[in-house]
């Protein structure tokens, strides 16, 4: 019984991590209209920066300073933001599908680099000693509950930050030029600069929260940062509803419950392949069905618009 319980603890933890990613994606794609298919690349940059800065096994690696965790997290955030800047500046010169493909291309380049720069990243072997916060206080299975709580606290913080952003003039402007760039330009708004800031901010958050993903998985290899992460985050976002605030969280919960439960079934021999393929089949079906039945207005904002001017009226005194 406790086995099943702890399985769900794991699922909910992963759901929380994806809830974070999906919320950031919501900012980029839902509010600012940047359809980013390369987010896993930014997570990878953050994740690898964190592990390289903090891990203490220094065999085979050129660079292993063994710094404290909080330094690693800050480093990851900075690296994520910097990577986003490098990716964003050229990518934002193109729109729509071209932007999609360019971000996908960058993510693949990052993937290849993590595999091939083995003197820094330990290539496909990766790192399997991931030190985690508060491990000295809580051991064993109890730690999984701690991690669950930690992940969801961060998800909640991200929610509050995103809510603040979207209700501010900054968020309004984003939602405006998302739909009509020329009008925004004609009002004097430097829209491309706002896009880049948003993209870099997204990179910072992806980078800063990547360690959560690593603490959950307890191993860091290139395959952990596959395009599947990007697509799962997207599916979670679409299920929950793009450009709605609680959507990403809901979507992540639902999606991960489905896919992870499916992969619960383990078998041996011939069945192993079938069962490990089941996850992809389910993910694919969910994405197809969601697009079929929810895509009416892929971006349709469900929040009450009256709320915006109401809030303003209430703060005026």
């Amino acid at each position: 019984m406790t086995g099943v319980l702890f399985f769900f603890v794991g699922v909910l933890t992963l759901a929380g991590i994806y809830a974070i990613f999906a919320q950031v994606l919501n900012l980029e794609a839902g509010w600012a209209g940047m359809w980013d298919l390369g987010l896993v690349g930014l997570v990878a940059v953050g994740g690898y920066t964190y592990i390289i800065l903090t891990q203490t096994q220094n065999d085979e690696v050129v660079f292993a300073p063994g710094l404290p965790m909080w330094v690693g997290i800050i480093g990851a955030a900075v690296a994520g933001g910097f990577a986003a800047l490098v990716i964003g500046v050229p990518s934002l010169r193109v729109r729509g599908e071209f932007f999609l493909i360019t971000t996908l291309a960058f993510a693949e380049v990052i993937h290849q680099l993590t595999i091939n720069l083995s003197s820094v990243t330990r290539g496909t072997v990766g790192f399997n000693q991931v030190a985690r916060p508060f491990e000295s206080f809580v051991q064993g299975r109890g730690y999984r509950l701690l991690l669950l709580a930690l992940v969801w606290v961060v998800a909640g913080l991200v929610y509050l930050v995103m809510r603040r952003l979207v209700n501010a003039p900054y968020g309004r402007l984003l939602r405006g030029f998302r739909d009509n760039d020329p009008v925004a330009l004609s009002l004097g708004k430097h829209t491309n600069r706002h896009r880049i800031f948003t993209f870099v901010f997204a990179g910072v958050v992806y980078g800063a929260t990547a360690p959560l993903y690593l603490w959950f998985l307890r191993t860091v290899t290139p395959s952990v940062f596959s395009a599947e992460v990007t697509f799962v985050a997207w599916t979670a976002l679409v299920i929950g509803g793009i450009a709605s605030k609680s959507g990403p969280i809901l979507g992540a919960g639902i999606l991960l419950l489905i896919t992870e439960t499916v992969s619960l079934a383990q078998g041996s021999g011939d069945f192993a392949v079938v069962l490990s393929s089941a996850r992809f089949i389910v993910l694919g079906l969910v994405l197809i069905l969601v697009m079929r039945y929810r895509s009416a207005g892929l971006i349709s904002e469900q929040r009450s618009l009256g709320g915006a001017s109401q809030r303003m009226a209430e703060t005026a005194s």
């Binding site: 729509g96 493909i101 291309a105 693949e108 392949v273 393929s277 992809f280 993910l283 694919g284 994405l287």
Partner: protein, 287 residues
């Protein structure tokens, strides 16, 4: 130089794989990520016919092309027709879902192991300072013939003309009486079939494995964007260009970086010329 020969081979295969994606983009309006899985399917089906049914490689290749083409049509009717009015982004994400679905099904149906075509390429013979096998020459020849056949089909037949009309202006074509569903089916058949054929070729040159689709789709996307998503000739040129770039780069950088080179070229081009290398005033861009 040997690398140039490899580049031409890679490029030719890439070209026929990409042409289909470009056609679908033009007539249906979205980028079909599942195209990579059609390639994988072609490889496995071809392999099946050669190793289990012991057919000749040409027959097997032909059958694989036809079968994958048919699958493409079926998929377009079941999966994409119902959401035709949902816009290119919804269709793109649906194609991603389809890609995962097909990936899972292919793994279940054909297994997750790596297979090698038991087909011989013939002896390696020398031409000047390079060496090629008959098999490699045939691959390039078949690719070239397919492209030529496609070009003839598009310019000389009525259906082909309808396809070109739809590609440049779908709403006008419909108004003028072009049978939209027939054009759509034809395009899906040809595009998917070519992907299947490319799959057989990739399988012959390298190996057949379930991950092929994901590896190839990225380069195909690069070639498609480079070619401007508009003209067929642009796509062909882009395919060859990328093939050459990837194999020539092996002289300078470790081969593991092949795909990085392809993307490097893509990114560089997009930065300098955001419309792609051979942009043609084709279909109106959505969004």
């Amino acid at each position: 130089m040997q690398s140039i020969i490899f580049g031409i081979i890679t490029g030719s295969i890439l070209a026929i794989a990409t042409v289909g994606l470009s056609m679908i983009r033009q007539t249906e309006g979205f980028i079909n990520i599942a195209h990579g899985q059609f390639l994988t399917l072609g490889a496995f089906v071809g392999f099946f016919f050669v190793s289990e049914v012991e057919l000749n490689i040409f027959v097997a290749g032909f059958l694989a092309t036809i079968i994958v083409g048919a699958v493409g049509v079926a998929v377009s009717l079941i999966v994409f027709r119902p959401i035709a009015s949902s816009g290119p982004l919804a269709q793109l994400f649906t194609s991603i879902g389809l890609a995962y679905l097909l990936f899972g099904l292919i793994r279940v149906g054909f297994g997750a192991s790596v297979e090698f075509f038991p087909t011989s390429f013939g002896t390696r013979f020398e031409v000047g300072s390079v060496n090629v096998t008959m098999g490699e020459i045939l691959i390039v020849a078949v690719a070239g013939l397919s492209v030529a056949a496609l070009a003839l089909f598009l310019t000389r037949t009525r259906l082909g003309t309808w396809i070109r009309a739809t590609a440049s202006n779908p709403s006008l074509a419909e108004v003028r009486g072009v049978p939209v569903s027939r054009v759509s089916a034809a395009v899906w058949f040809v595009a998917s079939g070519l992907a299947g054929l490319a799959g057989v070729m990739v399988g012959l040159i390298g190996n057949v494995n379930s991950e092929m689709g994901w590896q190839q789709i990225l380069i195909i996307l690069a070639a498609a964007v480079l070619g401007g998503l508009g003209s067929i000739y642009g796509v062909l040129a882009a395919g060859l260009l990328l093939g050459l770039a990837m194999d020539l780069s092996a002289l300078v950088v470790p081969t593991a970086y092949r795909t990085v080179v392809a993307f490097g070229v893509l990114i560089l081009v997009l930065v300098l010329r955001p419309e792609g290398l051979f942009s043609v005033a084709g279909r109106k861009e959505a969004g």
